[in-house]
Symmetry: C2
Subunit: 534 residues, 2 copies
């Protein structure tokens, strides 16, 4: 069963070893287990906010449905749920099963002054789901729209209803010998439609493409009518409408169907762990690997603090001691940086890629540990996020922030983000443990993905203030260093204040002009992406 | 010197051998050399349309400047120039050298009710430059804005003023060891800005990327103010503004600067000619090559008629006789199809690519002729278009139309286009010679690029009516078969009537909402892309 106030399945635990907790206590101080609110109390809070929706046969206004519909996985969402300080909740949830029902509900919402908030797997970490605005809020949960409706083997195109969850999408494709290859960290609980409208990026997007490259067309129901996006392999016929459905975060309508570019299941795949002696050589190596266009499916490079943290949180002190002694002999000591490199393709392609990559890796002092650590990473690729649950129980909150920037800005960006994160809680007398990896590496630059661990406070207000200070400081640092406010999480409400820094006034006006055209009554997801201008 | 009424440099001729003319005469009938209008008569026609622009120190209203600014390379443009039936011409030309001048001119145009038509190398084949609308027309020629203003070796980003011509762009990059690798057929006369706003595709875009992948950011001057597009390697921060500057064809403003993703000059490059026995095996081969993701830089596959035409127009009958006998022995006879395959990269990558491609090519009955024909193609890659001049002199007009569609539609599309083209002139008692190649091959599908040769009529009206009938018939066939109205030429005015078929009413309304936001007085390039709605 899915956790109502944390990540993932209640049956799955990733407990922390004592030495891991000791490591954190040394850095940010010992944690105190918070006193979590119970589910029944949360339901009672929802019930105390009567639904303001007019009755509709397809809308569930039960407290359980409304509670589940009102929160994602942002740090703010966690604090509200764990402390039992819910704030505003959705007024009801519909689970449409067809695009006609979506259309009918949009018409009904417009007629009754109801705002509509589409929702997939509710894995947003940037506040996409929080109800705001004066109107009653209908959450439209699309996860019952999950079928593979067409598979064109010739064009390698698969059409799905947009609410399909990652594992269900891959299972339906795998049955025919295909894969989409889109594996964000949230894969197990996020949906295809969510990936599209938030411009998601999978762990192996270097090979398979970001969702922008995978999304070939689809169908959007907007408040002013349907929008069909036909599939072409490429087109010069004016501005690309797909590129404005991508990232639209519910502002322009509801994505009901998406056609995606799939590939045959790869013949071979390997993940390899490589240690570099220091950050300078590690960054130079991944930059060279990307610019040499070798075709790796993944490069994920941890900085020294993240490398250390990964090894410490893993537990196995004895085995890691041996590993560290071996690495130190090969030149990778205290400043070592761990790269996970993915190779995906035909066997012949794998051989060619590994040969070419090996030359560059060795030239930068990289020490390969073969597939041992890489296979461990693969086995746990969707498990790491469960640590959030264990950390919370130990008294620690976790947030992640991420950006992308051009190569000359990457190292200063990383420093600025970690400095901002470490200093952010000083006025509270608290410390933050910050560490960073490059999650997606491009010829032009890289994403910069930082994790922040800080102590939960004694109550909601204290904890929320800490989180807000951290979010603000890091977002400002990102923008000041010339990065995008998000490389893969989306904008939601949490990043909306920083969007103008990169879109400019003219850019926001363009987006809002389209919003007014498609949603003249302003019912779609107020607050997400950009503020309303009318 | 550039031809005023044809393609390219006056010093370059690609004369047709008698056997080539005989081949065409057999198919569409013998041509009659038209009686071209002389330059002085064209100037006199321009002078007879006094400029309606208020005086401005930066605007050239001389007949020579206005004539050069009013025509591109569409078949309709040719007919007007060659027959001396110019129709409406531009009222004057400005050659801004800075973005500030562009901004000032846009303000002036809005204040004086003048419409503005940006222009690069004037190579449009779809009527981007033809003055329309009630307002006086100012052509803004950007080709004096041609400097490399920044080169970031670390991020592999180069910033150019947008009016830089292809050869000047490559020369400035080559001086530093870099290339953009964007080589459309029009390369020698087209500009970076033109490539961006028409979504151009280069011959080797399989490796280097279409201009959509190369355009990292830039600066647009819109009538309502500047729009800056920062460079990020990737971003999830909402809809991508770049993707609406791409393909905007002057409707939203004037692109003054563009930052593009460049690469080190490749270590090695080879072009190989391969013959397949028939279309079915040839198409299956290029589809398999694309879907195997081997990384070829080019695949350009001629159908049997184009293969035959290429060999016939080449002249060298004796050498080709030998080649054909050799190919026939290897199984490639009358239905043979010629593929030009490009390999670009490091030497190690070339070896790996050629090995992998060889397996697929042989499995489909392909017979490689090595680099002999491929190097000939490379040497003449920008020369083929000069045949248009020679054909005209022999009494034949040439037009090309192109689309892209998913694989299941490619063969029917090719048949439908050629049938529509061949039948289009029947009511005139004329025939068309049609032939087709796939110019850009993707895992999902392919472009389909057809050439049409037909006889010039005795006068402008007759010839124009033939061209219109052809254009209409083929465009309708493309749309009916589910293709985009253009894969690489853009929309301009010639394709505007067919844009709604793929964008839909909602899509066009989105585009027009942005246009009204950025250009509230409607001064930017009326008629291009879509009709005005206010």
């Amino acid at each position: 069963m899915r956790r109502w106030n944390g990540w993932g399945d209640t049956a799955i635990e990733q407990p922390l070893k004592p030495e891991a907790l000791g490591f954190l206590a040394d850095i940010v101080g010992p944690g105190t287990a918070p006193n979590d609110a119970v589910y029944e109390a949360a339901l009672a809070q929802v019930a105390a906010q009567p639904s303001r929706l007019p009755p509709h046969p397809l809308i569930d206004t039960s407290p359980a449905a409304r509670l589940a519909a009102s929160f994602g996985q942002s740090c703010a969402d966690w604090l509200r749920l764990r402390f039992g300080v819910l704030g505003r909740v959705s007024d009801g949830v519909a689970f449409p099963e067809t695009r006609e029902t979506v259309r009918e509900l949009l018409g009904w919402a417009q007629a009754h002054g109801v705002s509509v908030r589409p929702c997939g797997g509710a894995t947003s970490v940037v506040g996409h789901l929080s109800p705001v605005g004066d109107k009653p809020v209908l959450t439209m949960n699309l996860t019952r729209m999950m079928r593979l409706t067409a598979l064109d083997r010739d064009a390698q195109l698969a059409t799905f209803e947009a609410g399909v969850l990652g594992p269900d999408l891959e299972a339906q494709l795998r049955a025919h010998g295909y894969t989409l290859g889109h594996f964000p960290q949230s894969f197990e609980y996020s949906t295809l439609g969510g990936w599209v409208v938030t411009r998601s990026s999978g762990q192996q997007s270097s090979r398979f493409g970001r969702i922008e490259q995978l999304f070939a067309g689809g169908h959007l129901e907007t408040p002013s009518g349907p929008l069909d996006l036909p599939t072409f392999p490429a087109s010069a016929a004016g501005p690309d409408l797909r590129e404005w459905v991508l990232g639209s975060e519910g502002r322009f309508g509801v994505l009901t169907d998406a056609t995606v570019r799939v590939t045959r299941l790869p013949e071979a795949e390997q993940f390899v762990g490589v240690f570099f002696p220091d950050w300078a050589r590690a960054q130079a190596a991944v930059q060279a690997l990307a610019q040499a266009r070798i075709g790796l499916s993944m490069m994920r490079l941890a900085n020294p603090i993240e490398t250390l943290t990964t090894l410490k949180l893993a537990g196995h002190a004895a085995a890691i001691g041996w590993l560290e002694r071996y690495l130190a002999l090969r030149g990778a000591g205290a400043d070592k940086c761990l790269l996970f490199a993915g190779f995906t393709g035909s066997k012949a392609q794998l051989r060619a890629m590994r040969r070419q990559a090996g030359v560059i890796i060795r030239a930068h002092g990289g020490v390969s540990t073969g597939q041992l650590l890489g296979e461990k990473w693969r086995a746990n690729r969707f498990r790491g996020v469960y640590l959030r649950n264990s950390l919370w129980v130990a008294g620690y909150a976790v947030d992640t922030m991420e950006t992308a920037c051009d190569w000359p800005r990457v190292a200063p960006m990383m420093a600025a983000i970690e400095t901002a994160g470490r200093d952010a809680l000083a006025s509270f007398g608290e410390r933050t443990h910050c560490y960073t990896h490059l999650s997606h590496v491009y010829p032009q630059g890289s994403s910069v993905y930082s994790t922040f661990v800080f102590r939960v406070g004694p109550d909601f207000e204290t904890s929320f203030a800490r989180w807000q200070a951290l979010k603000r400081a890091v977002s400002q640092a990102i923008v000041a260093q010339g990065g995008t406010i998000t490389h893969q999480h989306g904008v939601g409400q949490d990043h909306a204040p920083w969007l103008a820094a990169e879109k400019g006034a003219a850019g926001l006006a363009m987006l809002d002009a389209v919003r007014r055209q498609l949603d003249p009554l302003g019912v779609m997801t107020p607050g997400n992406l950009f503020g309303d201008r009318d």
